[in-house]
Symmetry: C2
Subunit: 350 residues, 2 copies
């Protein structure tokens, strides 16, 4: 008989808070201390849960099977520039792509739906998923459907898991001193568009989520400079600050970012000011951070810029031996340490 | 610009109901008409979403990659015989196993957690997942954590997706006339135990969910009679009646079941009567239906019975050319047609 401690609220017991799901330090601590405990990898080659990367990489013969999973809880489900269906496909395709797996074998789609949800909304979401699959050259191969009672779930949750083969895996931990940091597009569009829509800011015409599958763009970068791309990550929850901090910590290098080089559109900059948010901390769903050996940086930059989703790509910084595991922002007047947000300030952002 | 129909309730529009998530005919109709539409398979070899099987099978070289996904919304999350963590691992391992993929490459674990959820409950669930992984010889390789606000989700949802390699895939559509139908254990334990716990029936000591990973048992069956196993399925939501009806329809055979041969424990039979439920319609999480060529049936029966989870295994019926696509129950006094339930009568059963 299993020992079963009492169920229900217990005084002084710790509880999960919104920041634990927000992609920042609090979430990583929860995963490291509770969820990944006991699942440490025995192998040094394969990338598993303990690596806390965007997905796992498993050896099959002489190739890698890359696997990644994401549950999407975004609110509202229809937003400027996309919806939960497009997000679910793009989010998973991008997690595969930043690990170097740009040819998707298949995606799964598991929906949990609140009783009373409209069939017409379900069809609209399904249509978006199909469209995003077409853009990514991917297909949904299997699924699951659950229904919860009215009031037991706010709307709909979609989990998408993706599997893809890769000849070589790119992790988020491979940066070396001297590597250049590329950012494929402007930051903040997704989170700010969503927040503006929630607050009724009336900027919906100008603000749109960047949500898009990036595997085509990343394939182009990889094809341009095979072996020269040392690390990749998509700065979703926690934003660019979280993604770069994680890459610096795992790679044991410092990263110096030139503030003026980071693309932010004027409308996002304005809206972020109105909302009191820092674009560096805001979720993105259509850009990637790419670490490149210095001699290949210009070629990769040109290749990404030639892609429709990469026209604003910029070299935003450089890795250094100084300040290992730190993210430094060069403002033009001086340098300051950037700290990872405790949690993304916006709940249900993806 | 995407054309965006009005958001929000629309009069006379159809809405999702609990029965759409209940594993019966209503759910299959929803999936066929809405969710799988536009994702029809072009290939005849691979098993994809349109096959509505327990998972997908994708060719990699000369082997099959089997992929399956399930979101677990069970209530209560701790129940006699298990919890949501054990269920999440066993459910996905079993879906892989009934497709012939008994060696799990990896599982993903994506949790959506309500704000305020106890850390100690999370640890307890995590412990169950580890234990079930050990039983199945499986490991969690990657995960995702999202948090929803208080009142936006009732507790916790866990999605587990599994990937496994198989040399040959077993579908749920391969039955031929003459094949024998084996059931590896008694039916109704999971659903009845859960329902008794919810209603406070006071039978918890005797009623326990059968939730368990079956890949070891199924491997033994496959090893005993390679090629003689023609179809498998685990009778979860919708129960044995739904599973057999689906197998009969897809295989285009009739299935005649001998009522007296179907194992049901006395306590489940009594509790089902008190609750007004039919064990044939109740979810199971630790038994499988196996279709076997007649000459191998006794050998497979003996092999399964020698496994600790298969001691009550029985041959419960035979496939026939008569009544194609129908499930017939032989009661000993006469025969009657069994219809698939519209939906499993118990919401949030898995």
């Amino acid at each position: 008989m299993m020992v079963r401690p009492g169920i229900g609220p217990q005084p002084r017991d710790e509880r999960v808070t919104l920041k634990h799901g927000a992609g920042g330090r609090a979430m990583r601590m929860l995963i490291e201390e509770t969820l990944a405990a006991g699942f440490l990898d025995g192998s040094t080659d394969e990338i598993g849960l303990a690596a806390l990367d965007d997905g796992a990489a498993l050896l099959i013969g002489d190739r890698w099977l890359v696997v990644t999973t994401d549950s999407h809880v975004i609110h509202p489900i229809f937003f400027p520039g996309g919806d939960i269906g497009r997000l679910a496909i793009a989010g998973t395709v991008n997690d595969l792509a930043v690990m170097g797996a740009t040819e998707v074998l298949g995606l799964t789609s598991a929906m949990v739906i609140e009783e009373g949800f409209l069939h017409s909304d379900l069809e609209r979401i399904q249509h978006s998923m199909q469209e995003a699959c077409r853009e990514a050259g991917a297909k949904i191969v299997t699924g699951d459907t659950k229904v919860m009672g009215r009031g037991e779930l706010d709307g709909i949750i979609i989990n998408t898991t993706g599997v893809a083969l890769a000849d070589a895996v790119v992790s988020d931990a491979g940066l070396s001193s001297g590597d250049r940091i590329l950012l494929t597009g402007p930051i903040g569009d997704h989170g700010i568009a969503l927040m503006a829509a929630r607050r009724g800011l009336g900027l919906e015409g100008d603000l749109r989520s960047d949500v898009a599958p990036l595997n085509g763009l990343i394939r182009r970068a990889l094809d341009t400079a095979k072996g020269a791309i040392t690390a990749m990550k998509d700065p979703t929850r926690g934003g660019l600050a979280s993604a770069l901090t994680e890459m610096a910590e795992k790679s044991q290098v410092g990263i110096v970012i030139e503030d003026a080089a980071v693309p932010v559109t004027p409308v996002v900059r304005s809206a972020a000011e109105i909302l009191g948010l820092d674009p560096f901390h805001i979720a993105n769903e259509g850009v990637a951070v790419i670490g490149v050996r210095p001699d290949a940086a210009d070629a990769v930059l040109a290749a990404v810029r030639a892609h429709s989703l990469g026209q604003s790509c910029a070299i935003i910084g450089t890795c250094t031996d100084e300040h290992p595991k730190r993210l430094i922002l060069d403002t033009g007047i001086g340098r300051r340490l950037v700290t990872e947000p405790e949690g993304e300030p916006l709940p249900r952002i993806c």
